[in-house]
């Protein structure tokens, strides 16, 4: 069994996006619409003791103010499922938490009404807003252990140890969080840009005591998700409740500052790493302690040991991790959630060890080949990290790079440095239930689990369907991100492609078989639409269910019930990861010390590339984010006040076009046929991993200064 390379086709939604015709959830214009605005708490911890809605109700156009009393009490705990987000409560756990929702005939009136509400609080001055604060509570989780690192470290002749820090960061997708809710005929329909329409549905059912039949969630297009839109948002049930109480559609577009305060974010995290090498200069042992900022009740796991053991075949690994609980909203998944910061830390440490050993950092990495997962002791289904490194070095022109730092200086004093960094990301998979219908009228409709966040999942599905079926691509509808068309998973963790392309492939095969049976040997000619017309059949529809390695009926049942049924990266017979190697050139200004990144070469091993166009775009985006995360982004907390101080796009500094140079993307493009029938692993997340380390390593090579805390700013090299 094999899978041939795919052609480079345009993305299916490119023209609409360029024309501005793409409709996002907040673009649905509904008649009789009301507008909502949340009132954020201005204390970091405590309780609302009084909240008068009178001033808000006096604002012309305000129709209702929802407060804590308008919501059912929190639902009973459910085994194995995290609780849905709280609605409006009198207890305040973090600054910016919603204390009321104002609903009005116009957006302006809703805002004016919200600003007229000034609750009385009993503030708890003992809150802790930073991980070094007095009330921070450290909670270790299970360590990650392979072999015996303590014993092995004693054998090491060269050791490197250091601490690396990654700041709190916010996703800031262009599309704001929003909800438009319609309550009609006992059915709640919610339009929301989300990566998890089923998760939103489940939270609404539990918070508002509705049945599955009573809730439909539609996420037609997501204007960037990056993990922030993976789970149910707190505001959704507020808006839905307002629509139910008022019997009119209600829309809330959450302002950027409120998103900073209520949505998830990447928590601050720290990494103390020791790596030991033997007399031959091979890494033999790792001791690695990680911890992260966490909210009091938050569940985002500190999985910092997900990828470092999978990179270089180091047999003895001991990793600890801990949450540090403080008073903030819950942190969560942000692109390459733990592998981005852990690859920054680990691949910086690997580089430092190579420097200590006096070995070229690419050659040093090539001394180590990972073939087995040392934690679960299973072979990798595929791992082409060496191929990524070799191809990247070739394209970048790595040969001839001076070993010593500070050796490449331009006549004007600009220091030039070249760095390499590697990363990995688990290859995960989710079951899928897909229906495919081809009509005699020229239409085709494919419905399955998946959300389009701009990553190109529709283009990926189209590749399979147009490869396998003689259909009219112009009239192909790909219905995803809608709980009424198919059970939906949370589309995240780079499992979107691997979870849907086998379903598309199987559905196409089943459909072809069904039509062949229908034709019973006749060959009317033309495409499938014409063939159906020739035999006077309006349409043929098939349904398929696909599962990943080791998955079965239980997982499919979980999908049907709206639960998470994701597997990986450990499967019964193997472990699967995607890999990437980045090569980065930095220029450091002689006097004012600005760091620039004029060129990057990134080579990924994501198995078979199904949609080359969108895949390249994903990697470029990952590199842009790597640059931005390493050199620009940090969300700042003033410990005296809590909350996030730089909560807009002017002061939360993301990279702009002028910060980005040339990015050359390549793929190994070798299918992993153990993983699925197309040989596709995953790509979106791995694209970013290792990029920050490559920059850090290049900065060291340029300047001789090792920076271990992101973001690197002007003052760090001054």
């Amino acid at each position: 069994m094999t899978s041939a390379p795919f052609p480079n086709r345009p993305r299916v939604d490119a023209l609409d996006k360029v024309l501005g015709a793409t409709k996002y959830a907040a673009d649905y214009a509904l008649p009789n619409l009301l507008y909502a605005m949340q009132v954020p708490a201005t204390i970091a911890k405590g309780r609302v003791t009084a909240l008068s809605i009178d001033a808000a109700m006096r604002v012309a156009g305000v129709v209702k103010v929802l407060t804590a009393g308008d919501f059912p009490p929190p639902p009973a705990a459910q085994q194995g499922a995290p609780p849905p987000p709280a609605t409006i409560t009198r207890d305040i756990a973090y600054r910016g938490q919603p204390v009321a929702l104002v609903v009005a005939e116009t957006l302006e009136a809703a805002i004016q009404g919200a600003e007229a509400i000034r609750p009385t609080y009993a503030a708890d001055a003992t809150f802790t807003a930073t991980i070094d604060g007095k009330g921070a509570v450290r909670q270790p989780v299970q360590p990650t252990v392979g072999g015996n690192a303590t014993t092995a470290m004693v054998q090491a002749v060269t050791r490197h140890s250091a601490e690396y820090v990654s700041p709190a960061q916010h996703h800031n997708p262009m599309e704001m969080l929003s909800t438009t809710a319609v309550w009609e005929g006992g059915v709640l329909t919610v339009y929301e840009g989300t990566q998890g329409s089923n998760a939103v549905k489940g939270a609404l059912m539990r918070n508002l005591r509705l049945t599955s039949e009573q809730v439909v969630v539609k996420s037609p297009q997501v204007g960037g998700g990056f993990g922030q839109k993976g789970g149910a948002q707190r505001h959704t049930a507020l808006v839905a409740r307002a629509a139910m109480l008022l019997g009119r559609p209600v829309k809330l577009v959450v302002p950027r500052g409120q998103i900073f305060h209520n949505a998830s974010f990447r928590p601050k995290n720290r990494h103390r790493i020791e790596i030991g090498a033997d007399a031959a200069g091979k890494m033999i042992a790792v001791r690695y302690d990680a911890d992260q900022q966490q909210s009091r009740e938050g569940q985002f796991p500190p999985n910092y040991h997900e990828t470092p053991p999978m990179m270089y075949g180091i047999p003895d690994y001991h990793g600890t991790a801990a949450n540090i609980r403080i008073d903030t909203q819950a942190p969560g998944y942000m692109r390459a959630p733990t592998p981005h910061p852990s690859s920054f830390a680990f691949d910086s440490a690997v580089d430092e060890l190579a420097v200590k050993l006096g070995v070229d950092p690419v050659a040093f990495r090539l001394r180590h080949r990972a073939t087995r997962d040392p934690i679960d002791d299973k072979p990798f289904s595929s791992c082409f990290l060496h191929e990524c490194l070799s191809e990247g070095a070739r394209r970048f022109g790595w040969k001839g790079r001076p070993l010593a730092p500070g050796a490449m200086v331009r006549p004007d004093g600009t220091q030039v440095g070249w760095g390499v960094g590697c990363g990995a990301y688990p290859a995960n998979v989710h079951p899928n239930i897909a229906t495919l219908r081809v009509g005699a009228d020229g239409t085709t409709r494919f419905a399955a689990a998946g959300h389009e966040m701009g990553q190109g999942i529709r283009s990926t599905i189209e590749q399979i369907l147009v490869r396998d079926l003689a259909i009219d691509p112009a009239r192909l509808e790909i219905a995803i991100g809608d709980t009424s068309v198919a059970p939906q998973h949370v589309t995240a963790g780079s499992w979107g492609t691997a979870s849907v392309v086998p379903a598309a492939e199987q559905a196409a095969a089943k459909l072809k078989a069904a039509i062949a049976e229908l034709l019973a040997g006749r060959s009317p000619g033309g495409n499938l639409h014409r063939q159906l017309a020739a035999v006077r059949r309006p349409f043929v529809q098939v349904e398929v269910t696909t599962v990943g390695p080791g998955q079965g009926d239980k997982d499919v049942a979980r999908l049907r019930q709206g639960g998470m049924a994701v597997s990986g990266p450990e499967y019964p017979a193997f472990t699967s990861f995607s890999y990437i190697a980045h090569f980065v050139e930095v220029h450091v200004e002689p006097h004012t010390r600005r760091i620039r990144v004029p060129r990057v070469v990134s080579i990924a091993d994501c198995g078979r590339v199904v949609s080359p166009r969108t895949a390249e775009s994903q990697v470029r985006g990952g590199v842009v984010w790597g640059i931005s995360a390493c050199l620009r982004e940090a969300t700042e907390v003033d410990p005296r006040f809590g909350g996030w101080l730089n909560n807009d796009l002017a002061d939360y500094v993301v990279a702009v076009n002028a910060d980005i140079g040339e990015i050359d993307v390549g793929f190994i493009d070798r299918p992993d046929m153990q993983f699925n029938s197309l040989g596709a692993k995953g790509l979106g997340e791995v694209a970013m991993t290792g990029c920050a380390a490559a920059i850090a390593n290049a900065v060291f090579h340029a300047t001789g200064t090792r920076l271990r805390e992101m973001p690197f700013r002007i003052e760090d090299l001054l």
């Binding site: 409120q258 600005r594 620039r596 500094v653 700013r713």
Partner: protein, 339 residues
């Protein structure tokens, strides 16, 4: 966001009358790139907006004679690409082109830009608007309430000209270039016209940081006048910030040189991003006068420009950064072709 009335008079005189008639709570609005933003943050709470953009004949650019004259409503983007400005006064063109984004520069006016308010995070995020959702003490917003930036996250705060009441940076680029070139503004009020050096338009915070500009209520800036100077050709606006575009300065320097060979006859130097108002660096200018310009004399001048600078908790680096920015700016300007 609060309701307000809105009028759009077609002459400056009518605008002034409308302002007076509206009473307290009146605000002029031109491009709106700053005022609307501040209204959304609930910092500006005007009851009456008097839109000046329909005033006829107030957007001209004159470059003949012995001065440049930019009428207040000329868009930043138009002045930035004016041929004479580009050729003879790169410091002006660059100060405009390096500000904001092209979209904002198309809307924003050169007159309105002079009155842009600080980007201090505690000033902007603490007025209780629903987005930022916080109330921070701020003497600029609420006189007497205190200053949250002092002892807080002050990486972006001023190292020159600050007081115990306020450390907020004057955010502009254009005003810094104008101050270096001894520009003045023409002002129209009910009492008639007057002119004022741009440098004197900005007040030090002292104990009254809420009083930012030396304008009386109802006065309109109608034009900006820059006396022509040979030094304009060898000039630059050098801006260092946290990203390559679309950000305010961490440190910036407007420099114009009158050179005799490689000797400085006269240098004009002003700083942005580090001070509570556009900061003319007189000591640095004196330091350079009559000297050869070399990397060494440039950095000595840069350090002189920061004479008296005082750091807070996280912004000490700006003192060294600004000194080097001045030095780099001097070297860049010196490489340009003299008139």
């Amino acid at each position: 966001m609060r309701p307000f009335t809105y009028v759009r008079p077609d002459s400056a005189q009518a605008a002034i009358e409308a302002f007076a008639a509206a009473g307290p709570g009146a605000r002029y609005i031109a491009g709106g790139t700053s005022l609307y933003d501040l209204m959304k943050l609930d910092i500006e709470r005007p009851e009456h907006l008097i839109d000046v953009t329909a005033i006829r004949g107030l957007d001209g650019i004159e470059t003949d004679g012995d001065r440049l004259r930019f009428e207040a409503l000329a868009p930043m983007s138009a002045v930035a690409i004016n041929r004479v400005v580009l050729r003879d006064y790169p410091v002006l063109a660059e100060s405009l082109a390096k500000a904001a984004s092209q979209q904002l520069r198309n809307m924003a006016t050169v007159g309105g830009n002079l009155l842009q308010r600080t980007r201090c995070l505690y000033f902007r995020n603490g007025a209780g608007g629903v987005s930022a959702g916080m109330t921070y003490p701020c003497n600029k917003r609420e006189p007497g309430s205190g200053c949250a930036a002092i002892g807080g996250l002050d990486r972006g705060q001023a190292v020159l000209g600050q007081s115990r009441s306020c450390t907020a940076v004057s955010p502009g680029d254009w005003p810094v270039a104008l101050v270096a070139l001894d520009a003045y503004v023409e002002i129209l009020g009910r009492q008639g016209t007057r002119s004022l050096p741009v440098a004197d338009l900005y007040r030090l915070p002292g104990g009254t940081p809420h009083l930012e500009f030396a304008l009386t209520p109802g006065e309109i800036i109608t034009a900006i006048v820059v006396p022509k100077a040979a030094a304009g050709r060898q000039s630059t606006y050098h801006k260092i910030r946290d990203r390559e575009s679309y950000a305010f300065a961490l440190a910036s320097a407007a420099v114009a040189l009158d050179m005799a060979g490689d000797t400085v006859r006269q240098a004009r130097i002003a700083l942005g991003g580090v001070a509570t108002r556009p900061w003319r660096a007189v000591a640095a200018e004196a330091q350079l006068a009559g000297k050869q310009l070399t990397r060494e004399t440039a950095i000595i001048a840069g350090r002189a420009a920061l004479t008296g600078a005082k750091a807070g908790d996280h912004n000490g680096f700006k003192i060294e950064l600004a000194a080097r920015t001045v030095a780099d700016a001097l070297m860049i300007a010196a490489q340009r072709k003299p008139a």
